[in-house]
């Protein structure tokens, strides 16, 4: 049954996933080409200085891609189920509602994780050709909040979709925007590697993930079911 639930999620996400995969590949290729072009036009020491001292990152154009991806994944996955109260179909399946929800969220998060891994892998590979391991690590730490914002957008949008009352939905929307904005606040590359920042990010993501279950529980017996 769990496999069937996962398969259902895949059927919904498949088109969006492949489009997003193409977008992420294109953006990463663009970033890699930009880095190569930088190194062909400037002395490496200048670029190293810009990266280490000034904190410039060559893949800043990726900043808004993950959170937009998170929104698109949430829409592709959940809108087909909440349109015309279709969520009732899932709620009546002979599995616990929490199990169905966990399957749905877990699979959506995994798909997003695949895209994030792609970003990380491409950046690590292109960086390795030009920078030492320490700078590659700093760049990956700089990528982390961008991807975390994507996951926050995915969870937050899910809460907004599932929440039945308009006022709670607005609250969820505000919380999601605040969380995503907070994670995306420009910071020195590697700033998110501190334990405090990591704990804050993890707390925000966990809270948003839990809120999706609360939204589901809240709307479960209201007769609305979106």
């Amino acid at each position: 049954m769990l496999l069937a639930l996962v398969w259902k999620e895949w059927l919904k996400l498949r088109p969006a996933f492949f489009v997003l995969l193409a977008v992420h590949v294109a953006m990463n290729v663009w970033a890699a080409a930009g880095l190569r072009s930088l190194f062909s036009g400037a002395h490496p020491e200048v670029l190293w200085y810009q990266t280490i001292i000034l904190g410039n990152i060559h893949f800043d154009m990726l900043r808004h891609v993950p959170w937009i991806s998170g929104l698109i994944l949430a829409g592709a996955q959940h809108l087909p189920e909440i349109r015309d109260k279709r969520l009732r179909l899932t709620l009546h399946l002979p599995v616990r509602a929490e199990t169905a929800m966990a399957c749905s969220l877990g699979f959506g998060a995994c798909v997003f994780f695949l895209l994030a891994m792609l970003d990380g892998a491409v950046i690590a590979a292109t960086d390795s050709a030009h920078y030492p391991a320490e700078i590659v690590a700093i760049h990956l730490w700089a990528l982390l909040p961008m991807e975390a914002a994507g996951l926050a957008a995915y969870f937050g949008a899910t809460v907004v979709f599932f929440e039945p009352s308009t006022s709670r939905r607005l609250h969820a929307l505000l919380l999601t925007i605040t969380a995503v904005a907070m994670i995306l606040v420009p910071a020195r590359p590697g700033a998110w590697s501190s334990p405090g920042a990591l704990a804050l990010g993890l707390f925000l993501l966990t809270a948003l993930a839990m809120a999706t279950f609360l939204a589901m529980a809240h709307q479960r017996l209201t007769g609305k079911n979106q």
Binding site: K8, P80, R86, H92, V95, G223, N225
Partner: protein
């Protein structure tokens, strides 16, 4: 447990507007029950409660012995739900949706599903979102049948169906439920279908008034008489006269559960002449409108 559905003292209101007030209702196993009522009397609310999507504010509603809002997966397997608008996962194809649901039901009977799909004449790769309402209703019906449920809750199954698809739906459903003594609780705005399939009727009126009767009992006991209407005054409802409606052609219709003698006495008491009083034949729809009122 002999009842598939048991409702005791069910109360529900929206804001200050009461919908159900201390509703009691039993649906025995193997019965086919039609829930009828005008818009706004609480049919959808009751179906939502029965389907487990709304917790009643007071009272109990049990399905197969379990609270309707807290059904175990085992009991959910025994209940087939048909949602208003023939909801289905419309992003799936015919083949995919059968493959998906088959994983959840131990007694899944694919032959029932594919029998209907063959008649539909669409390829398995046809996506449900590209189907007409009638075609989708066949897919949903096939899924319900393949599930082999003991209880079917059907919410406005006729919505959006043309006469042909509606007849097909009702006839298939009738054969299916008689086959294994299944229980059906359904709503529809097409009253005439109830005559073809229902054993019992639950008639809801505004204010929470409920009458649970057999279809035959209702047809035999509820009568309509007509009387010339002078444009001045109409008989008023009392303990004998259930409802009065003006009709075209200068007559009024008087509905009653009482005998003709009792009606005659009641009309005399109200000072009406009995000249032109005649008994009218009624379809079930006429009787329904007479019972629930036109306005």
């Amino acid at each position: 447990m002999t009842n598939a559905i048991e409702i005791r003292g069910l109360c529900h209101s929206f804001g200050t507007r009461p919908i159900h007030r201390s509703l009691d209702l039993d649906v025995g196993r193997g019965r086919i029950v039609g829930l009828l009522g005008k818009n706004g009397v609480g049919k959808t609310t009751l179906m939502n409660i029965l389907m487990g999507f709304l917790r009643p504010q007071a009272g109990q509603c049990t399905i197969m012995g379990e609270p309707s809002h807290h059904l175990s997966p085992h009991t959910k397997r025994r209940i087939g739900l048909l949602f208003e608008g023939h909801l289905a996962y419309d992003f799936m194809t015919i083949t995919q949706i059968e493959r998906f649901y088959a994983r959840f039901y131990l007694d899944w009977n694919p032959a029932r599903f594919f029998d209907l799909m063959e008649r539909l004449g669409l390829p398995g790769s046809h996506r449900i979102r590209h189907m007409s309402e009638g075609q989708r209703s066949q897919v949903v019906l096939g899924l319900l049948f393949a599930q082999e449920p003991d209880l079917l809750l059907l919410d406005d199954y006729a919505m959006g169906l043309d006469a042909g698809y509606r007849r097909l739906f009702v006839d298939y459903l009738a054969d299916f439920v008689r086959d294994k003594n299944r229980t059906v609780f359904m709503t529809s705005h097409v009253i005439e279908d109830m005559e073809r399939i229902a054993d019992d009727l639950v008639l809801l009126r505004a204010g929470g008034d409920v009458r649970h009767t057999t279809l035959k009992g209702f047809r035999d006991s509820f009568h309509c008489y007509s009387l010339p209407y002078d444009g001045q005054s109409l008989p008023v409802a009392d303990s004998v006269i259930f409802n009065v409606e003006r009709t075209a052609g200068g007559r009024c219709e008087i509905f009653t559960f009482a005998s003709e003698q009792e009606l005659v006495a009641a009309l005399r008491r109200q000072g009406f002449s009995l000249d032109g009083l005649r008994r009218e034949s009624m379809s079930l729809e006429d009787a329904f409108i007479g019972y629930t009122g036109r306005y």
